[in-house]
C-alpha cells in the first residue's frame, strides 16, 4: 500500500525491511555520521546546502536508525527538495522514522509543507491519512490555503477530514467555505461542520446553526452544543425555547436535554434561572447536577445571588462528588450557603481533586468553626486525596479555632482537639513526599511549637544524610524561630554535606555562629 522507498542501488526498502534484522548493534549510522558533522548545534546551522542534500539522501538508507537521524537533522531545512524527501519519509515502514520526519516537518512549518502533505488526507492507507491530519492541525494557519480545495472533494470521508482539521485550527478564515457544508448530503460531514463551527466560535454561525436545528433532527444535540461553545447571549432565547419544548415532551431525547441544559449554562440570562429552578425537581437523576451547574454559571455571569432551597441540599452533595470537575465546582459554590455539619464534612472530603476546587473549599472552610475538628476526624479516618490540604488547613486555622472556642468549650477540650491534630499530622511524616513534608513541618510548628521541636529533634536522627539535608531545608522555611534550634543541632553532624547545609541555613536567617579561634581548640 505504501510507495516503496528505493535506495541508491534500486533495491526496495520494503523487501529489505521484511528481512528480520538480528539484534546486533547498529554501528552504521555513527560511522557515516562522523565525517559529515560533529554533533554540535552551531555546526548544524552552518551546514552547507550540499551537506543538507547529502543528509537528505540518507532518508532512503537501508538502516532505519540512519533514516531517522537524518530526518531529525533536517529539522531546519526548508528547501523544497528536502521537504519533499521528508514528506515521502512520512510513509516509511518504520515508526521511528515517521515520528522523526513528522517532527521535522512541523518544525519547518509553512505553506510549502502544508501543500506537500494535504493530499495525504485522501490516501488509501489509514495510517498515512491520520498522520497527515495530525500534522496539518499542528501546522496551523499555514494549512488553510492548502486544505480549502478538499472541502469540495467528491469523497465524503475526505471532506469530513478537512472539516475536522479546520475545526482544530480554530481560525475564522475559512468560515465562509464551511457554512455551505451545513447542507452537505453526508450526515457525518454535516455533523463535523457543526462541531467545527462550535470550536471556531464565530458568531456568524449562529443563525445558520439554528436553521440546522430546525431542519435536521439528528443534528439537534450537536447544534445546541455548538451554540453553547460560541457562547453569545444572542442565542439564549432560542436555547431556552427549545429547553421548554423538550421538558414538556416526554419523548425528548435525554442527550438533547443534557445538551440544552449545558448550553443554557453558557448563554442563558436571568430569565433562564427562573425556568431552571422550576424544573430542578422535575428533571431526574444525573441531569439534576447539570441543571445545578447551569444555574450556578448563569448566576455568576449575571451577578445574581441565588438561594438554594433546603430540599436541594442532597443534590448539591451529590454534585460535589461528580466525575466532572466543573460540576464539582458548581456544587461547592452552591453548597457554600449551607453551614451544617454534613455539608462541612462533605466539603472537606472533596479536597485534593483539583487546585481550583481546593482553593474554593478552603476559603469557605476558614469561616467555619466546626471545620477544624471535622478536619482532624477526617485525617484520623484516613484523609483520602486531600491529606495535604487538610494538614495545611489545620496549621493555618488552629489559632482561629482556639479563639472561637473560648466561651463555649473548656480549655481542656480545646487542647485535646489540638493535641489530636498534632498527633495525626506528625504520623503522616513517614509516608509523605517532600512537598507534603514541608507542609507538615509548618503545620506542626503552628499547632504546638514546643512539641514540634521535640518531634523534629527525633526525626533529624534519621540515618540517611540526604534526608537530614532535606529536613534542614524544610526547617529553614518555617516561620517559627524555634525551628532553627533544631537546625543548629546539626552543626556538628558527622556528615560534611549536612553540616554545610546547617551553616548556610542559619546564616541565611542572620544567626551569628560562634567563632572558635584555632588556638583555643582543646578537649
Amino acid at each position: 500500500m505504501r510507495p516503496d522507498l528505493k535506495d541508491q542501488k534500486g533495491n526496495s526498502a520494503q523487501t529489505k525491511s521484511r528481512r528480520r534484522e538480528p539484534h546486533v548493534e547498529s554501528k552504521k549510522y555513527t560511522t557515516l555520521w562522523q565525517p559529515l558533522t560533529k554533533f554540535n548545534e552551531r555546526a548544524k546551522n552552518a551546514m552547507t546546502i550540499e551537506s543538507k542534500q547529502r543528509i537528505a539522501t540518507l532518508l532512503t538508507h537501508d538502516d532505519s536508525d540512519t533514516r531517522r537521524m537524518a530526518a531529525e537533522d533536517l529539522s531546519e531545512t526548508d528547501n523544497l527538495a528536502t521537504i519533499s524527501a521528508l514528506t515521502a519519509a512520512l510513509q516509511d515502514d518504520n515508526k521511528g522514522v515517521r515520528d522523526a520526519a513528522s517532527r521535522s516537518l512541523v518544525s519547518i512549518g509553512g505553506i510549502s509543507v502544508a501543500r506537500g502533505i494535504a493530499h495525504y488526507i485522501a490516501h488509501e492507507d489509514i495510517v498515512t491519512r491520520n498522520l497527515a491530519a495530525k500534522l496539518l492541525m499542528k501546522l496551523g494557519d499555514a494549512t488553510i490555503p492548502a486544505l480549502l480545495p478538499f472541502l469540495r472533494d467528491p469523497n465524503h470521508d475526505v471532506r469530513k477530514f478537512a472539516v475536522d482539521i479546520f475545526g482544530e485550527i480554530r481560525s475564522e478564515e475559512p468560515i465562509y467555505y464551511l457554512l455551505p457544508l451545513l447542507k452537505d448530503a453526508d450526515a457525518n460531514v454535516l455533523l463535523s461542520t457543526v462541531e467545527a463551527l462550535g470550536n471556531i466560535g464565530s458568531p456568524e454561525a449562529l443563525d445558520p446553526l439554528c436553521k440546522v436545528y430546525e431542519t435536521y433532527p439528528f443534528a439537534r444535540a450537536s447544534t445546541v452544543e455548538a451554540l453553547g461553545k460560541i457562547a453569545e447571549s444572542g442565542s439564549s432565547d432560542f436555547v431556552l425555547g427549545k429547553l421548554r419544548e423538550c421538558i414538556g415532551d416526554s419523548e425528548c431525547d435525554a442527550v438533547l436535554l443534557y445538551a440544552l441544559l449545558e448550553a443554557l449554562g453558557a448563554v442563558g440570562t436571568r430569565e433562564a434561572l427562573h425556568v431552571l429552578f422550576l424544573h430542578l425537581d422535575e428533571v431526574r437523576g444525573k441531569l439534576r447536577s447539570v441543571v445545578l451547574h447551569a444555574i450556578v454559571q448563569i448566576a455568576e455571569r449575571c451577578h445574581e445571588e441565588v438561594r438554594f432551597p433546603e430540599s436541594s441540599r442532597l443534590l448539591l452533595l451529590d454534585a460535589l462528588r461528580d466525575d466532572t470537575e466543573a460540576i464539582r465546582l458548581s456544587g461547592a459554590k452552591a453548597l457554600a450557603q449551607f453551614k451544617d455539619e454534613e455539608s462541612t464534612c462533605a466539603m472537606l472530603d472533596a479536597l485534593g481533586s483539583s487546585e481550583e476546587l481546593d482553593f474554593l473549599l478552603l476559603s469557605e472552610m476558614f469561616g467555619r468553626d466546626a471545620a477544624f475538628e471535622r478536619a482532624v476526624e477526617l485525617l484520623e479516618q484516613g484523609g483520602g486525596r486531600g491529606k495535604q490540604q487538610l494538614i495545611l488547613f489545620l496549621g493555618k486555622t488552629v489559632d482561629d479555632f482556639v479563639r472561637a472556642s473560648e466561651g463555649y468549650s473548656t480549655p481542656e477540650v480545646v487542647s485535646s482537639v489540638v493535641a489530636r491534630a498534632f498527633r495525626i499530622v506528625s504520623m503522616e511524616w513517614h509516608e509523605s513526599d517532600q512537598e507534603t513534608r514541608s507542609i507538615i513541618v509548618e503545620s506542626l510548628f503552628r499547632l504546638d511549637g514546643d512539641r514540634a521541636v521535640e518531634i523534629m529533634g527525633q526525626i533529624i536522627t534519621e540515618p540517611d544524610p540526604w534526608l537530614r539535608v532535606q529536613i534542614i531545608e524544610l526547617l529553614s522555611a518555617v516561620r517559627d524561630e524555634r525551628a532553627l534550634d533544631v537546625v543548629s543541632r546539626l552543626l556538628d553532624d558527622e556528615n560534611e554535606l549536612v553540616r554545610e547545609a546547617a551553616v548556610s541555613a542559619l546564616q541565611a536567617k542572620g544567626v551569628a555562629l560562634g567563632a572558635a579561634p584555632m588556638n583555643d581548640l582543646t578537649w
Binding site: 489509514i126 495510517v127 491519512r129 491520520n130 498522520l131 491530519a133 495530525k134 492541525m137 470521508d157 469530513k160 477530514f161 475536522d164 450526515a187 457525518n188 455533523l191 463535523s192 462541531e195 462550535g198 439528528f218 443534528a219 444535540a221 450537536s222 452544543e225 431525547d253 435525554a254 442527550v255 443534557y258 445538551a259 437523576g285 444525573k286 441531569l287 466525575d323
Partner: protein, 121 residues
C-alpha cells in the same frame, strides 16, 4: 459497583455525548482522544468495555484494537467500533481484528446504550 466504559474518539463532541448516554444509564465513563492515550490510561483503571473510533491521530482504531487483543489482560474485553467509515472491507477488518460489534455514525443514543447493555449484562 458500576461498570466502567472507555470511550476513545478524537471528537470531543462524540466523547461527550457517548459519555452522557452511558452515564445516564449508570455506567462510569473514562475518555481518551486516541488509541495511544487510551492504552496509557489503561493500567490506572479497570475497564469492562471499550468503544472506539477508527480515524484518530497518533494511533488509529485498528492499531488500537490489535494492541488490545495482543495484551493478555485485555484479550477478552468487549470492543465496539463507532465510526463514520462505511466501507465494508474496513468494517470487516475491524471485526476480524477482534471487535465484537460495529455502530455507524451518526449514532443514535439508544443504539449505543443497547449495544453496551448487550455485552455488559
Amino acid at each position: 459497583m458500576s461498570k466502567t466504559v472507555l470511550v476513545v474518539d478524537d471528537s470531543a463532541t462524540v466523547r461527550k455525548f457517548v459519555a452522557a448516554s452511558l452515564s445516564l444509564k449508570g455506567f462510569r465513563v473514562i475518555t481518551a482522544a486516541d488509541g495511544m492515550e487510551a492504552l496509557e490510561k489503561m493500567p490506572q483503571e479497570k475497564f469492562d468495555l471499550v468503544i472506539t473510533d477508527l480515524n484518530m491521530p497518533d494511533m488509529d482504531g485498528f492499531e488500537f484494537i490489535k494492541n488490545l487483543r495482543e495484551t493478555p489482560e485485555y484479550a477478552g474485553i468487549p470492543i465496539i467500533i463507532l465510526s463514520s467509515i462505511v466501507d465494508q472491507e474496513e468494517k470487516d477488518r475491524g471485526l476480524q481484528l477482534g471487535a465484537y460489534s460495529y455502530i455507524e455514525k451518526p449514532f443514535s443514543v439508544e443504539k449505543v446504550q443497547r449495544e453496551v447493555a448487550r455485552f455488559l449484562n
